[in-house]
Amino acid sequence: MAAGLKEEKVYEREELASGTDGVAQAVRLADVDVFAAYPIRPYTGVMDRLAKFIADGKFDAEYIIADGEHSQFEIGKHASSVGARSFVGSSGTGWLYAMEALATTATDRLPVVALVGNRALDDPGAFGVEHNDAMLVRDLGWLVVWASTAQEALDTTLVAYRVAEDPSVMMPCAVAMDGGYLTHSEHIIKVPTKEAVSRFLPRYSLGRRVMHPDNPVSIAPQINEDWCMEIRRQNWEAAKRAKQVIYQAYREFNSVFGSKYTNPFFDEYMTSDADTVVIGMGTVSSAAKVAVSRLREKGEKVGFIKLRWFRPFPTEELRKTLSAAKRVTVIDRDFAHGGPDDGGVLYNEVRAALYDSANRPKVVDFIAGLGGREISIEDVTKMVELTSSSTMDEKIHWIGLREGTKGAAVENRRQ
């Protein structure tokens, strides 16, 4: 830039914001046309903020309150089909109530962006974080990305629109974040200017698929065995193309905002010469990083990977990084009862990625932090230790669980 020329401001101010505030800011900045809502914590935080933006004249959108999550997500889908940029969101049991709409949004290839504020699945009613809600769309043709700071919540929501609406992708995107720990924790973030965002994010266009009286189309007709497989194949291809679009989107994001997303798919922390690599998603990264740096101070070669994009899964990239290690510690904030080796979801995804590798490290699974239970620095340190000491029969560990010996549950079952 020539001397004397004023550099264009990309951030307008700093403000104290929770994860949901960050998302709401992104929705405002992305100039979303239709915002469909049904209250559930933590999505309510986004609703409150956007209502305030509209009331203050800072945001112009259709704010539609639905009679439940199923209708809410249908509204988002239909709005998207007429060419409106739309936003929806829920968490836990509400997300599940929307499941039919979630599935059809993906098969209709409509680039809705949705917040899923991770929350334990009822029953019993619980509010704390568990990743199973977001993971339920992992096979449906949704892009799934985890944000782990309030700034990332804002950035990621913008990136989500950029990727989802790319003509070569056209898939809905779920922005996941840990309920409570991120959605309700407030940090100082930088809020971009609208001009900078519009330079990054092009207008949404559905092209000739757009439903309009001047362009009559019928969406989602009934089909038989004559069409289904070809349709799935198109979607499969788009999910593969999404990977390159994600790289491109972050390159563009970095160039506009000067951010430092070097690897869009995951952040690496002290992994280069690590014997043991810890991998996890969401806010657990805070505790994991401190645990790793403390172990490094003791001379132990440990590193950490914060996985950001879960769909598409960065198979080759993870294989490359993880196969250089001797051991992998997987933190699963989810459960997958009766799955391969009774491990969690992430554990088996990581193992699958490593299967074709010439060097297959030992992979040990740690199910932790379910229902919002805290994962401490000490917990992560213990995981690293157990990764070394575990035998082949001790692949799965539950951490932070109240262990007893009485076995009343077993006794009662027999009665």
Binding site: G179, E186, H187, I188, A287, V290, G407, A408, R413
Partner: protein, 403 residues
């Protein structure tokens, strides 16, 4: 002031050698929610303006909030750590393990907190660290508050900012400067977290109003600080419930419930022993059994079913479960028969009807002495702060009872 700074310097070189400070803000659910957030936000913005790293959060498990239930916000501040390090150490937690400053926006919380079922009744000073400060907004003397709290094995400080329990920020409630007054008090007791200069900068930036700055300075000067030693306070009478291990309860989470049961007299109804809700009360209903006309309205209208019918046709109240909503006092048709009185004036939750039947005249004398002649309007949401009515005299004792 200089001594204060020296003390704080000493405190800084505390645990882990890191200057990470935690402020816990205890407030009444719903009624003081906005106030609590204004204070935690104010601390973060003020600290940020000093170039410190800071963030805040609310205790996630408090939501959805219920009227009067004790809730908490946190503000975490560090002068030396960056955002990522501070977050790693202090973020992604549901609750703080300890607090350098514990703020209490309603002094009746000194009697204990029960934010959720199976939490047990916890002492308000549970999180305060050695040398830390618990700061009350209160009209009480420090000694009166100190004796209600749990005895701790170390010395800490007790500060009192003169003021009433405020509902400022609730719906249409008038702003009464409680938030900025509390910020100034934090600057007074913990300038290593935020100093007065940055609090003033924050107030000017937000309100551009010198009157508020004056109010803050007045508050700064009016804070009274004293020490609480290991001899002060009480041995905590409530146990923390122990939760079972995963092998030790029925699958499918079918929990034992309270069997329906009723008999006449005090404590006659079966109630949930794991969640008493009494700690959500700022005022308690005081009943003049001698003027009661046995109309049943208090018993009928109580939203928490706290009244127990007695064999003599009266209605005893169970203070362990009463949330102090004031509904009974509102519906009672008899002049001055049920009156809401500051909870801190009482030290027992025992049955008032039993007290009354032992010696009716003595009970009435004692209650009138506690009540005095001032009557706070018994609505929790008055819109204008507390309205006080002065009576000329108390209702005389009726030895033959009400109509």
């Amino acid at each position: 002031m200089t001594q204060n700074v020296a003390e704080n310097e000493a405190r800084k070189s505390g645990k882990e050698g890191m200057d990470v400070y935690r402020v816990e803000i205890n407030y009444r659910g719903i009624f003081q929610k906005r106030l609590g957030y204004n204070i935690s936000h104010g601390i973060v913005y003020a600290a940020h303006s000093e170039g410190k790293t800071a963030f805040s959060n609310g205790r996630y498990s408090d939501d959805p909030q219920r009227n009067g239930i004790p809730c908490a916000n946190f503000a975490i501040v560090s002068g030396s750590l960056g955002e990522e390090e501070l977050e790693a150490i202090a973020s992604a937690k549901m609750d703080v393990d300890e607090a350098d400053v514990v703020l209490v926006l309603d002094d009746t919380m000194a009697k204990g907190l029960e934010p959720w079922g199976h939490y047990g009744i916890r002492p308000i000073n549970q999180k305060v660290v050695e040398g830390g400060t618990i700061l009350f907004v209160s009209r009480r003397k420090p000694a009166e508050l100190a004796k209600l709290m749990e005895r701790r094995p170390f010395t800490y400080r007790l500060a009192v900012l003169p003021g009433d329990r405020s509902f400022a920020g609730l719906w249409y409630q008038r702003d009464d400067n409680t938030d900025i007054r509390v910020l100034a008090a934090v600057a007074r007791v913990a300038p290593h977290i935020v100093d007065m200069e940055s609090v003033v900068r924050y107030i000017r930036g937000k309100f551009n109003d010198e009157k508020r700055v004056e109010a803050a300075r007045e508050a700064y000067d009016s804070v009274a600080v004293s020490e609480v030693s290991p001899d002060d306070g009480m041995v905590w009478p409530y146990e923390k419930p122990a939760l079972p291990a995963w092998q030790d309860f029925d699958e499918g989470m079918a929990v034992k419930s309270v069997k329906r049961g009723f008999k006449m007299g005090p404590r006659g109804q079966n109630r949930n022993p794991d969640f008493r809700r009494g700690t959500s009360r700022s005022q308690r209903p005081v009943i003049r059994f001698d003027t009661c006309i046995k109309c049943t309205l208090c018993w009928y209208d109580c939203p928490d079913e706290c009244f127990d019918p007695t064999t003599d046709g009266l209605f005893d109240v169970n203070y362990e479960y009463c949330t102090g909503c004031g509904r009974c006092a509102q519906v009672c048709p008899v002049d001055d028969c049920i009156v809401m009185v500051d909870e801190l004036k009482f030290d027992s939750n025992s049955s008032p009807w039993e007290d009354y039947t032992v010696d009716p005249e003595e009970y009435v004398r004692r209650m009138e002495e506690i009540k005095g002649l001032s009557r706070e309007v018994p609505s929790p949401v008055t819109g204008m702060g507390e309205r006080i009515l002065e009576r000329k005299e108390s209702v005389p004792f009726k030895p033959k009872g009400g109509k």
